[in-house]
């Protein structure tokens, strides 16, 4: 792992991020926080409907917020890669990072299961339908895993000392 960390740190892009003006890290952090609010707000709306809240809203309509969740996820992927590439030693061996990635995978697989297996049937339900158990399970897994991603992301500095980031 040390060789891996050193290899990343030795790249020109990693060095240029590190030598970057003081504002790069706080700028990316601010964007990362805005991205997470957008992601959790937009995905959360869809998840809450899957869980059976907001009867009267069809899943088809609730789905229209999903592109904003994807936009938030994209912002956070880009800024997250910048964090990782500039200071890989803070993340590569950090257990909090592994939990964060684990829950990202859980959220991703959950989306895949929804898209491939349940989407057509659930989206055909009328607006005031009671949600079937499958929808509730998918909604619950999604909500829990996104908040877990947030939780382990925020705990990152406390499992490995982080010289650059503030508190």
């Amino acid at each position: 792992m040390d060789a891996f960390i050193e290899a990343i740190r030795a790249t020109q892009i990693s060095e240029s991020f590190r030598n970057q003006v003081e504002w790069l890290w706080p700028l990316c952090e601010s964007l990362h926080f805005l991205g997470l609010s957008l992601l959790i707000g937009a995905a959360g709306f869809f998840d809450l409907r899957l869980l059976g809240f907001m009867r009267g809203v069809s899943l088809r309509s609730a789905q229209r917020f999903v592109p904003f969740a994807i936009a938030g996820l994209l912002v956070n992927t880009v800024t997250g890669v910048i964090f990782f590439v500039s200071q890989p030693q803070q993340y590569a061996t950090n257990p909090s990072m592994w939990f964060k990635l684990l829950f990202l995978v859980v959220a991703g697989v959950n989306v895949l299961v929804f898209e491939t297996t349940y989407r057509r049937r659930l989206l055909a339900l009328p607006a005031d339908a009671e949600m079937p158990l499958s929808a509730k399970v998918i909604g619950a897994i999604s909500l829990v895993s996104w908040f877990a991603v947030l939780y382990f992301g925020r705990m990152l500095p406390y499992l490995v000392p982080n010289p650059r980031s503030g508190v």
């Binding site: 706080p26 926080f33 609010s37 009267g56 229209r64 904003f68 939780y151 406390y158 980031s165 508190v167």
Partner: protein, 158 residues
């Protein structure tokens, strides 16, 4: 000032700041971020709906959104106070701290106004939102963006 010193030297502040437990400072800080995601996320969804996203979502569906906003706000008022006690004398001197509080205050005022305008009006809701509602939704998005950035900058600016 003396009050801030006493706050910072209280047993509670000492526990939050220096307990080795992950339940102290790290978890309180993380809860503060969870609360932010709930408040800002809910407001952003409402603002987007007012601006025309998912126009077929009935407004009545957002009737219970205030519960989410206020519970998120309460989490953050409580965790924010706990975080403040650990560094009260310094934070009370930070301009960006007052900028953040002002932006949050304004965002909540705008939120209450939007709610009154859009959700509590007895008249049937027109299919397209009034110009005032849309303008307030844009202002709301800007205020929450500013509050988030100001919060982050508290770790960087003196």
């Amino acid at each position: 000032m003396e009050l801030l010193t006493r706050l910072q030297e209280s047993d509670f502040a000492a526990w939050v700041a220096s307990s080795p437990s992950l339940l102290a400072y790290p978890s309180i800080l993380t809860l503060h971020t969870v609360g932010m995601a709930i408040v800002v996320g809910t407001c952003v969804v409402m603002d987007l709906r007012i601006l025309g996203v998912a126009a077929d979502v009935p407004l009545g569906a957002l009737r219970r959104a205030p519960r989410l906003v206020w519970s998120g706000f309460l989490i953050n008022a409580a965790t924010g106070f706990a975080l403040f006690t650990t560094d009260a004398e310094h934070k009370a001197m930070q301009t960006v701290f007052y900028v953040k509080l002002s932006l949050i205050f304004l965002a909540l005022v705008v939120y209450a106004r939007i709610r009154k305008l859009v959700f509590l009006t007895p008249a049937p809701v027109p299919s397209s939102m009034s110009v005032e509602a849309k303008a307030l939704a844009v202002v709301s998005l800007l205020l929450w963006t500013g509050a988030t950035i100001a919060g982050r900058l508290m770790a960087y600016l003196l």
